[in-house]
């Protein structure tokens, strides 16, 4: 069995060249991308099972001697394909700024404190229902140099693997109701409003743990639908 991956599924992805996000100008292809048939090379993809992660890798609040400062949150959801079938055993990696909006990366030197108890990186593997869960702190907004007084909305970076290398996805999870949304060219690089809102987690009272942590639900839908027999003569 294999899966069909219509390129139409990509229609709501951002355009490579999105001038409002300045860095795209010199880093996006100028010639049209070539469409090629999906061969075994595209229809297969790496598998990282539960041995790729260790217990606790999904808890960003327990990686150091003390607990990080900030609002403790639970971020959880399901990884699904386009027919909303769970993607199990998917490696999910995330990284984020600390509660003050500062990344531990040396390149981030903006004047906000680092937190010695927070790195901001985690990973996990989805279970048989495609479910994943992280415990972390809510990242802060931070300034960047794209345009005068530019600030990124609070977000968490996600990296996910699906059934094949064409369903590989790197995205960002945003928080509901962020007042910075209208001003962020990265968020708005997805021009379709419904598609854009698929990057916004929903507040999840049901899974909020009393006296401990707010929960946010973020489902991730990857390319891939229509399980069909793999025809050796026609890998479209």
């Amino acid at each position: 069995m294999s899966l069909i991956y219509p390129t139409k599924s990509l229609e709501n992805f951002p355009k490579h060249l999105t001038p409002g996000y300045k860095s795209t100008v010199k880093r996006s292809p100028t010639k049209p991308l070539m469409i090629i048939p999906h061969t075994l090379s595209e229809l297969t993809g790496p598998i990282y099972g539960h041995n790729a992660v260790q217990e606790g890798d999904n808890d960003l609040t327990k990686q150091h001697k003390g607990e990080p400062l900030g609002e403790r949150i639970i971020v959880h959801g399901q990884v699904l394909d386009e027919d909303r079938r769970p993607v199990k055993n998917a490696l999910v990696e995330l990284w984020q700024a600390n509660a003050c909006g500062r990344y531990v990366h040396n390149v981030d030197q903006h004047p906000a404190p680092l937190d010695p108890n927070f790195t901001g990186a985690g990973r996990t593997v989805t279970d048989d229902n495609g479910a994943y869960k992280f415990i972390t702190v809510k990242p802060g907004a931070y300034p960047w140099g794209n345009h005068p007084n530019a600030w990124r909305p609070n977000h968490i970076h996600f990296s996910v693997f699906g059934h094949s290398f064409v369903s590989r996805l790197v995205t960002q999870m945003y928080f509901p109701g962020d007042y910075l949304f209208p001003f962020d060219p990265i968020f708005n690089s997805v021009t379709d409003e419904k598609a854009r809102n698929r990057m916004v987690a929903s507040f999840d009272l049901e899974n909020t743990v009393p006296d401990w942590a707010l929960a946010f639900k973020f489902d991730i839908v990857l390319r891939g639908r229509e399980a069909t027999p793999l025809d050796n003569d026609d890998h479209h």
Binding site: E11, P29, L40, M199, D234
Partner: protein
């Protein structure tokens, strides 16, 4: 109407999450640490085939090396089989995963240690020349770009069904050039724009 989650840029700070142990020096004081999930060295103790090293630079539209780039590679083993459930042929008795990840360093250089892949089946049962699928992520890329790496010393390139779709004057952008050494080094530079703009694929 597609309902997939849109792509967003990996941004400038991915290294501590995705390539923490590698070419990017994101933590010069050694205050924080994190471990790799994916390595730039794909060689496993039991893997068969010719060991090779791949090295290259990704250049932006000003021909400047991109020093905050992440490269992922996906390849078959020396027998041309992918370590994936999507490849139904009997898997080789090997731990070889065929997947690697490298950040670029300050000079914009990425590198992989791996083995040369074998030929894999292509459309209509025609074999494809040995190749590696390459995905490139960086700040300024709102979605990854895909290309392919072929090897300069492969006669099979001439009959490859995908290379055959590429205009002859751009095919060279997909060829990694053998520079010798032990294990042999193949250099694969990627140009996002310009006269030598690499051929990128919509897949």
């Amino acid at each position: 109407m597609s309902e997939i989650t849109p792509s967003q840029t990996v941004g400038p700070f991915f290294a501590y999450g995705l390539t923490p142990v590698g070419r990017c020096d994101w933590d010069p004081n050694g205050t924080y640490s994190w471990k790799n999930s994916v390595e730039s060295n794909l060689v496993t103790p039991d893997v068969s085939g010719t060991r090779i090293r791949i090295e290259g630079t990704v250049f932006d539209g000003d021909n400047k090396p991109i020093n905050d780039c992440m490269i992922e590679i996906w390849q078959a083993d020396a027998q041309g089989r992918y370590a994936s459930p999507g490849d139904n042929r009997s898997l080789p008795n090997t731990q070889f995963k065929g997947f690697g990840r490298s950040a670029t360093d300050k000079a914009g250089i990425f590198a992989f240690d791996t083995i040369k892949p074998g030929a894999v089946p292509g459309p209509g049962g025609k074999p494809q020349a040995p190749h590696i699928v390459v995905a490139i992520f960086s700040r300024g890329m709102l979605r990854q770009v895909y290309t392919r790496l072929y090897f300069s010393d492969e006669a099979a390139n001439a009959a490859d069904p995908v290379l055959g779709l590429v205009p002859a004057d751009r095919r060279g952008t997909l060829i990694a050039h053998k520079e010798g050494g032990e294990p042999p080094l193949y250099r694969f530079n990627v140009h996002m724009q310009g006269d030598n703009e690499t051929v990128f694929f919509e897949i």
